[in-house]
Symmetry: C2
Subunit: 250 residues, 2 copies
């Protein structure tokens, strides 16, 4: 049967999602735990390749198994074998052809800022410190410039394996929660470092360093702007969207 498993992970001590020979990765730890539980070599498809330090709240993977464990019990049983910074949240059986990566119709990433003058001990690995005042109206205005179908070549790092730089930016929410400011960025897909470069651009917008007009220009010219790739520890994969009919078992 084909299983859709949702995991949560704290990216701090992982060298990213994708399996690497010598490094501790999410995929590596997950495959190890699945082998212990199911006694089969399991080949998993993850929905995206997150970098070292990036977190995920509800990350979907799919894999096939011959096991007779009831699908919903796999997540629960798996948690005995998973390390504490990687935990299964739920599991269900899905259509045989369904794949967490190829059937993704869109994703939401969150980028979290902590507005404070001194570094935080509690949030050091979970939010990016901003010491200056941010103008939220300017940030929301700049965010609106991204909305729609665009070629995002100007907002990616080299090394992107995605052959299609055209994405549909569906929504960007600028949300205040006490001393935190979180950007929720929803698009049909993301190029390499795209979420962190957009977050860097919106940070610059909040500091009055870049305008919506300049963002439109970068989108048109496809030339990488000056805003930095923000560090990974502020970034969270929040959600991946699928079509119901792709999931359903006939």
């Amino acid at each position: 049967m084909n299983i859709l498993l949702y995991i949560e992970y704290d990216g701090t001590h992982f060298h990213g999602y994708q399996r690497q020979k010598e490094e501790r990765t999410v995929q590596g730890e997950l495959e190890k735990a699945l082998f212990h539980l199911l006694k089969e070599d399991i080949n998993i498809s993850g929905s995206s390749r997150t970098d070292a330090g990036v977190h995920a709240k509800f990350y979907p993977v799919t894999f096939r198994t011959k096991s007779s464990i009831p699908p919903a019990k796999i997540a629960v049983a798996l948690n005995q074998y998973l390390p504490e910074d990687l935990k299964a949240q739920s599991s269900i059986e899905v259509a045989e052809e369904f794949n967490a990566r190829f059937h993704a119709r869109g994703k939401t990433y969150a980028y979290r800022f902590l507005r404070r003058s001194q570094p935080s001990a509690l949030h050091r690995n979970y939010a990016y410190l901003v010491r200056n005042e941010l103008d939220l109206r300017l940030m929301q205005e700049a965010a609106d410039a991204f909305i729609g179908v665009h070629d995002f070549t100007g907002f990616r790092s080299v090394g992107s394996s995605d052959p299609n730089p055209v994405k549909d930016m569906r929504k960007i929410i600028v949300s205040e929660e006490g001393e935190f400011l979180t950007l929720y960025i929803t698009a049909s897909g993301f190029l390499y470092n795209m979420a962190r470069i957009i977050a860097g651009t919106l940070l610059d917008a909040g500091l009055g360093r870049v305008s919506g007009e300049e963002i439109r220009q970068i989108l048109e010219t496809k030339e990488r702007g000056k805003s930095m790739v923000l560090p990974p520890w502020g970034l969270y994969l929040e959600k991946v969207y699928y079509d119901e009919e792709d999931l359903l078992i006939e």
Copy 2:
């Protein structure tokens, strides 16, 4: 001069606040950093003794120094010498006789629950997992039974060094924030493990295992109830209260 310094710490990798010879403690790390910065042996007074794993958001300490560094700069300069899980937030000069511990007029502790069926990777060190449904009305009702001046002998662990078990419980707020439930407990003072036992009692109340009536009985009889001391990682020292006039420099 006498300095009031506020620190934040992530208690996960500390053996509590108080200095111990062989263990990594908040006081030990703080005194080390102060020695590096001020080139004096510094004797600090912390506002409370938190256990291993307990966090603090705004923890006050006082110490005297002969340094000529402007008081407000001490916090900033100190952060260069502090580890990443212990960070200074602010510093001011206060009256010569003021002491962070002895002049405390009250404290707020927060206890944070995560309501979820599977363990969380991201919050594993920062909230206590509760898998069962909690009845918030019952929790608030039970919380009200604690309010007022009582002998809290029935809600402490042995080993308390505080000679006065009578405390004024001023306020208990039961606050929902998404999948989190946080108790904000404000009292004139806390006995050993008192915040974690009260949190355990209110958890039991939310599960229908203990009532306000039984809480009143424990307060009267001073006999320790059945509710457990909840684990340290859900607990945060939120705030310590002082009288303005104790702080002011004449």
